[in-house]
Amino acid sequence: MKTKLGISFWLSLGWMVLVILAALLANVLPLPNPNASLVAAPNLGPSIHHLLGTDPNGRDVLSRVIFGSRVSLVVGFGSIALGLLLGGVTGILAGYYGKSVDFLFNSLAMIFLAYPPLILVLALVTFKGHSLWVITIAIGIVGSPLIFRIVRSATQSVAQREYVAASRAIGAPTWRVLAKEVFPNVAMTLVAFIFIAVGVAILAEAALSFLGQSVAAPTATWGNMINDGTNDLAQNPILWLWPSLALFFTILSINIIADRLRVRFGVRDSFI
């Protein structure tokens, strides 16, 4: 009855578990300080002491990739969590109540959507500083109107189902109708989308880093490492490769997980 998730799903999940564990345990792993210069000679190739070699400042590349994953993961999951809080709650309310509530929230979302997101993020970062939290909040705010639109339309279709009318007929108060009947069914259609959104948020952070607008140097992020790598192409031709591969496999894994979950949890009311 249940669809198999397939080998690609488990490989992807394995990669994500590895990345998340490495990010969590970075401090206890036997890694040199990612920001310490000249832990070895600059521009070494991969060796047993420095698995991915060193960069032009003599910093350990593996250590920087692993510590850099923290930024990507915090921004990726954190910003979407914030986006879900803002866009999800308003989306469910707008979709369920309709009329003036819908008009109010939808108008707000449209105004946000009409504003170029990059400018909004750059403005926030410029005024509030290049910290991890500002980046997370900025991307979360920019993503929330999109999440709002998706949650709203999913809620609108769920709200018309007869089980929602049945719940009201039994006498459930509105919060209970939303929590027990509407939310679980909306959430199912959201699972796949959320993973894709996390991927997009990670990419957005990487793009900001690449432009030098994310977390300030010397903190490693995948985006600023790729940028450094392209600048140092002459001295160290494979430096850009490691953060790029990490980013590539992470985004690919997230998308595969999302896709398989969508098939697995594709909302089915019946098999008839």
């Binding site: 009318a165 039994i170 006498g171 459930a172 019946s270």
Partner: protein
């Protein structure tokens, strides 16, 4: 007979763009005596389901009164409304869509108690078990399953079980069997009949099929385009329909015996249902009525008694 529900001048209108209104239900009045079953019939789009939902206040009526056990539900709000309405329960048309696909059967059927009573989870599931047995479902085998694993007939049994958990006095059945196979229809109708006598229920049975309604109803009300056409004891209505529309509906019931001649004067409805946004003046049925006269376009026929307990809204009732 003691009245349990009294619907007075019920009007439900929906906005359909600037200056346009859908006249879904226009000035409907009827009463339900304790313990009786009233069949409410009419074509699709005549407002019969809207009437059911407006009684439940799932759709707010535009005007009119809905008195249930003496309290006017249209004046009540939020918690007071939900409390007063506990005595009315509803069964919906689509048995699968009316059950949340993500919840287990024992939680779906136990939901009314989870909302309204403080009993423990074990006690609640115990009551759910009793109700499962009553409607003919195996509790052990089905309690932890989800609705999509069941057939339409079984899902309708689950809906019925849920609707009875609060010991309602009035049950509104909104086309409860029209989505089911004919063989299953009979089972569900029999179950409803059984439960009706066991729980001394009053039933408002909404359907578009006169044959189904005939079996279960004490009285039958016929609606057309948001208006009440005729209301009477079911035997009288089936034997001597007074409204031309009722007559046409009865003539449209298929005759299963091929050797029985159809009545030669049988008349069939022609044309389409007029728009509910701009209904015909006077009698709303006049555009499709074979007996329509000038007065039918000018004056709306009121619902009036033609014999005790038999009311018709027609200028020229038959018989």
């Amino acid at each position: 007979m003691e009245e349990i529900l009294n619907v007075k001048d019920l009007v439900v209108e929906f906005s359909a763009g600037p200056g346009k209104k859908v006249h879904a239900v226009s000035n409907i009045s009827f009463a339900l005596a304790k313990g009786e079953t009233l069949g409410l019939v009419g074509e699709s789009g005549c407002g019969k389901s809207t009437t059911g939902r407006a009684i439940m206040q799932l759709i707010k009526p535009t005007s009119g009164r809905v008195e249930f056990e003496g309290a006017d539900l249209t004046t009540l709000r939020s918690k007071k409304l939900r409390q007063a309405r506990q005595g009315i329960q509803m069964i919906f048309q689509d048995p699968i869509s009316s059950l949340n696909p993500r919840r287990k059967l024992k939680d779906i059927v136990g939901e009314p108690l989870a909302i309204w009573s403080n009993i423990s989870r074990e006690e609640r599931y115990e009551k759910v078990r009793e109700m499962f047995e009553l409607v003919g479902l195996d509790f052990e085998a089905s309690q932890d399953r989800r609705p999509h694993e069941f057939s339409g007939g079984q899902c309708q049994r689950i809906s019925i079980a849920r609707s009875l958990m609060l010991n309602p006095r009035l049950l509104i059945c909104d086309e409860p069997v029209s989505a089911l196979d004919v063989s299953v229809q009979a089972q569900i109708l029999n179950l409803l009949r059984e439960l009706k006598s066991r729980y001394e229920l009053t039933i408002l049975f909404i359907a578009h099929d006169l044959a189904v309604v005939k079996n279960i109803s004490d009285r039958v009300a016929v609606m057309y385009l948001g208006k009440m056409c005729e209301i009477s004891e079911s035997e009288t209505l089936y034997a001597t329909p007074a409204h031309p529309y009722t007559r046409a509906l009865l003539d449209a019931v298929p005759e299963p015996d091929p050797f029985v001649e159809r009545k030669s004067d049988a008349h069939h409805l022609e044309g389409e249902l007029p728009s509910v946004i701009d209904p015909p003046s006077g009698c709303r049925f006049r555009t499709r009525c074979p007996y329509s006269q000038d007065i039918c376009a000018l004056e709306e026929p009121p619902l009036r008694d033609i014999s005790p307990g038999h009311q018709v809204a027609c200028h020229f009732p038959m018989n």
